[in-house]
């Protein structure tokens, strides 16, 4: 008995030593020097373009941006993202990885990264508010919520070649220091719609007032983003129909047309997978679309086609006829885009109305 205990303790001891040695080896093996370009390609290029030209995200490879953006600004922007403005928060990248990405971004410009003193800019935010309405609101939104859509308008029809970012945004405000905002207003960003406001005739005092006003957004900004959907919400909307399967499909089409949609396709659920003629006749998908809503949605966020056109499925399961759709409210959570939230809410109500009408 004694010796068994002893053995056990000894073994554990030896193993702990082994593990400590190995642990550090593992740490080294799994955490090699991070490769900034690789990380950028993996996490950023889909939105900001492989060379930083922009896309769903704003351009990053702009000399005027890179010589006003401090490393701290870039690091914090990556870490915190822009809640509600598509740019995700990269919470699980390690600091070294984020630094490597920032290093890589700097290779697009030969300027050295700027550093700003921490001193806050003193100005009159009430005057700033007036200047803001006059000079900024047209692009950045009346309340600093940003322009409609985001990034560069490669394929989407919108008013500006680059959409102005949100300024009343927890991510932006936490990342940008007063001095950096000031420098941005003084310089502007060449080759974007954002002008230099010194050249536009404002004086330094006006710019200080504007910076104070933007800083005051902090008081009203939402930290993080309200997750629009309660966690217990169901991912699927399901209604039971008291009609036969065929009647229910007909009802559904009628209800969709009644709600101003065009039926664009009707198919068995496993069509394309099952041999032709041998599809499961108890599961049917009806696709419908309203081109206006579709185009509106795509202009806001080109990724949203992932959940379009609209689709409702009728299924006979254990003797019951079920009518179901995805829960569009859930989608809000995936896109980090507050403009889309309204649309998702609308889509949610539309789906509910059609499901109800179908099973009434």
């Amino acid at each position: 008995m004694k010796s068994t205990m002893f053995d056990l303790v000894k073994n554990c001891f030896i193993l702990t030593i082994c593990l400590l040695c190995f642990g550090s080896r593992f740490a080294l093996a799994t955490y090699p020097e991070p490769d900034g370009k690789k990380l950028y390609d993996l996490h950023c290029s889909a939105c900001h373009g492989e060379n930083g030209r922009g896309g769903v995200g704003v351009p990053l490879a702009l000399p005027d941006f890179l010589n006003t953006a401090s490393d701290q600004y870039l690091q914090k922007t990556i870490r915190l993202g822009r809640p509600g403005r598509i740019m995700p928060a990269f919470t699980s990248l390690r600091n070294e990885q984020i630094s490597a990405i920032v290093q890589f971004i700097h290779t697009w410009s030969d300027t050295t990264p700027t550093q700003y003193p921490e001193t806050p800019v003193q100005g009159d935010r009430h005057k700033g508010a007036q200047l803001y309405s006059k000079h900024c609101a047209a692009c950045h939104g009346n309340n600093g919520e940003g322009g409609h859509g985001t990034g560069v308008t490669y394929s989407r029809p919108r008013d500006l070649p680059i959409i102005a970012p949100a300024l009343r945004n927890a991510g932006f405000l936490a990342a940008a220091s007063d001095q950096m905002i000031k420098a941005t207003l003084i310089k502007g960003r060449k080759n974007t719609p954002m002008p230099s406001f010194l050249k536009q005739g404002l004086v330094e005092k006006d710019i200080n007032d504007l910076v104070s006003y933007i800083r005051s957004f902090e008081k009203t900004v939402q930290q993080g983003r309200d997750k629009p959907v309660e966690q217990q919400a169901k991912p699927t909307l399901v209604y039971e129909s008291s009609y036969s399967f065929e009647e229910t499909v007909e009802n559904l089409k009628g209800a969709a047309i009644g709600a101003n949609f065009r039926i664009i396709r009707e198919q068995y659920f496993n069509e394309g997978l099952a041999e032709p003629g041998k599809e499961d006749k108890q599961k049917k998908i009806v696709y419908f679309c309203n081109f206006n809503t579709l185009n509106q949605a795509l202009a806001i966020d080109s990724r949203v086609g992932l959940f379009l056109p609209c689709r409702i499925t009728v299924v006979k399961h254990k003797g019951k006829v079920l009518v179901m759709s995805i829960n569009p409210k859930l989608l809000s959570n995936f896109f980090n885009n507050s403009e889309l939230d309204r649309l998702c809410q609308q889509m949610y109500e539309t789906y509910l109305a059609i499901l109800e009408e179908t099973t009434l």
Partner: protein, 166 residues
């Protein structure tokens, strides 16, 4: 190295502990990066090549290509500069026939799909991370396994499709 150390453990008990703890370590050190809600990549290929490439990678992953759907034929008419915007549906019998009979409320999310669209001379490709659905089915190892497998497959399909084919 690990293997040789394993053999140096003289007793079975030591071998057991060594193996157990090594496994634990490996598991801990390779814990998942992070659960993106959407998985999105940029291909530097133009749309037609990227599309062909994507379809190959889906099939190479052991899935059946089910259908390619145009999201809106009238995109350019409404101001979009491209009509190259497609949904690609893919799946297998387990995803589209077995699981749905057991869990009909998954049907609206199936078969899995990928959006592919042109952005000037390049192409964006994205899908929803199926693991998003996991939290709605707590304590369901079968679905957890399926969602995680789909996520892995989706990721490798997208990353494979992102590479230029020679």
């Amino acid at each position: 190295m690990i293997v040789s150390l394993f053999y140096k453990c003289k007793t079975y008990r030591r071998k057991f502990w060594f193996a157990a703890i090594s496994i634990l370590l490996i598991v801990l050190s390779t814990s998942p990066v992070h659960a993106d809600d959407l998985i999105m990549v940029r291909s530097t290929q133009a749309f037609p090549e990227a599309m062909t490439n994507l379809q190959h990678t889906i099939i190479n992953r052991g899935y059946q290509l089910i259908r390619v759907q145009r999201v809106d034929i009238g995109l350019t008419a409404s101001g979009f500069k491209t009509d190259k915007y497609r949904l690609v549906f893919f799946g297998d019998k387990y995803m589209v026939e077995e699981l749905p009979n057991k869990y009909p409320e998954l049907i609206p999310y199936l078969p899995l799909k990928i959006v592919i669209y042109a952005e000037e001379d390049q192409t964006l490709i994205l899908g929803m991370n199926p693991v998003n659905l996991e939290k709605y089915y707590p304590d369901n190892p079968e679905l957890a396994r399926a969602f995680n497998q789909w996520k892995k497959d989706l990721e490798s399909i997208l990353h494979e499709a992102q590479k230029d084919e020679d």
